[in-house]
Symmetry: C2
Subunit: 308 residues, 2 copies
Amino acid sequence: MTAQPQPEYLTGDVAAINAFIDRFDVFLLDCDGVIWSGDHVFEGVVETLELLRSRGKRTVFVTNNSTKSRSDYVKKFAAMGIPSDVEDIFGSAYSSAIYISRILKLPPHQNKVFVIGEAGIESELKSENVPFIGGTDPSFRRDMTPEDWAGIADGSLLDPEVGCVLTGLDFHINYLKLSHAYQYLRRGAKFLATNVDSTFPTHNSFFPGAGSIGMPLVNSTGQKPVSLGKPSQAMMDAIEGKFHLDRERTCMIGDRLDTDIQFGIQGKLGGTLAVLTGVSHREDWEAKNAAAVPKFYVDKLSDLLKAA
Amino acid sequence: MTAQPQPEYLTGDVAAINAFIDRFDVFLLDCDGVIWSGDHVFEGVVETLELLRSRGKRTVFVTNNSTKSRSDYVKKFAAMGIPSDVEDIFGSAYSSAIYISRILKLPPHQNKVFVIGEAGIESELKSENVPFIGGTDPSFRRDMTPEDWAGIADGSLLDPEVGCVLTGLDFHINYLKLSHAYQYLRRGAKFLATNVDSTFPTHNSFFPGAGSIGMPLVNSTGQKPVSLGKPSQAMMDAIEGKFHLDRERTCMIGDRLDTDIQFGIQGKLGGTLAVLTGVSHREDWEAKNAAAVPKFYVDKLSDLLKAA
């Protein structure tokens, strides 16, 4: 049992906050639990982002939430008074689409993706010209029929061009979609997940997350998906490639030790900052078996405003 | 690495089959994968059951499928030409209802069960006078609304009398049900499962099973359910209590090593018989890390007819 070095607490310490900000050129920011909870933006966050930008910092929003596309996020940010551009946003749906189109390289006759997830995934797949079925298609949002049981079992209702199953957070998950995905995986389709967060923080509470929605498939097939969200380094590599960032001068800000903070540490970033407005608490990194220990922490993101 | 004793193969060996039948008074039979696959009864099974009964054997159907009640099973057996009585059937829905009413003993103000599952569970809970919500109630078979998100998160839409979440195979699983169950579990409700089979064999193929349908809750809460189906010995104890069986003179017949055969071995029954018409194959018990090794096996249940 080695005592892990504990993080530096910045809240209320003006000099420490200024030194922290000066250390970095780029801040990668998680959204749910850092910027907002659901549709409620945390107080002072708008001003904090303005402060960082006014000091010449690049702010990139890195989110595991795949239900929205990058352009959906631009709208959400705008509604909250935060100006942003599609290029400021890096979501797990986008990360997955890039991985499928540029790295996975499915054979032409098996290049379709069966999607469990919401519209955000579909938009990003379209932007990368990846063909897909499932997703928000109403014909998959219904009960099983006797014809489904027979046709899914014997394969006659399956699309032979599906070579990949991509699972994300799906608020319309049902047995029909799970049965299709299960059969595609049994027949050799690649298994990807936008992210494997166990819970989804919103409305000041938690709901089942993308990782939990995909678990029926993990359990029934015995296969684990390749995750394209935090803390997967596939996502970090894609971010680095896109933003040409100097990892030493980059800091990851997030609320979850097992996704955000681990993402920054495994990515060998110069810093990680935990905020206490989301999933993880101080006790979590003080625990002997902590998933990850951040380098810095604040009670809330807007505590950085003290630097002004 | 100890070589495990391998099972005796009975198919085609008349003397061995007769000796096998003579060894036992009671046969506990799994249904899916042994008697039938979906709505298709395997050839010769009706005659095999007649043979066993004609030799004075008691046949008890022990199934993890919780979608049907015992009386539903009587109808299904009748439609397949197999006479049976409610008392011949022991399902995981019934096992769960008995466990909740007689062993769990929830406090009066928290005695409601939130059900994820089909009508079979509801019938058996009713037969034991256990109050429940969820299940097949149409008001839980729909998409999430903004009011659901808010009311589930703050608890105003939760029933304060729910003290237990019971999960089974649910062909109408959705995010609304999972979100309710997740919040009840977070608030301290007991977590039970009718069974934890990873897959559901039907139509000569497989679909996601009850254990897989419950996995989003396991993953999001970090809790594991108490299972009331095979191989849980809670079910064996209940069967013994009901049928007053002599375990040494009882044989479990099934197609799954990790449920049926393990159930019989852990229950210290006199024998276990594997059939190859369902999930497990010969290679599964020949593997070094076999989940369980049966004492006997046949290609199919009707191979026992050779004894006639």
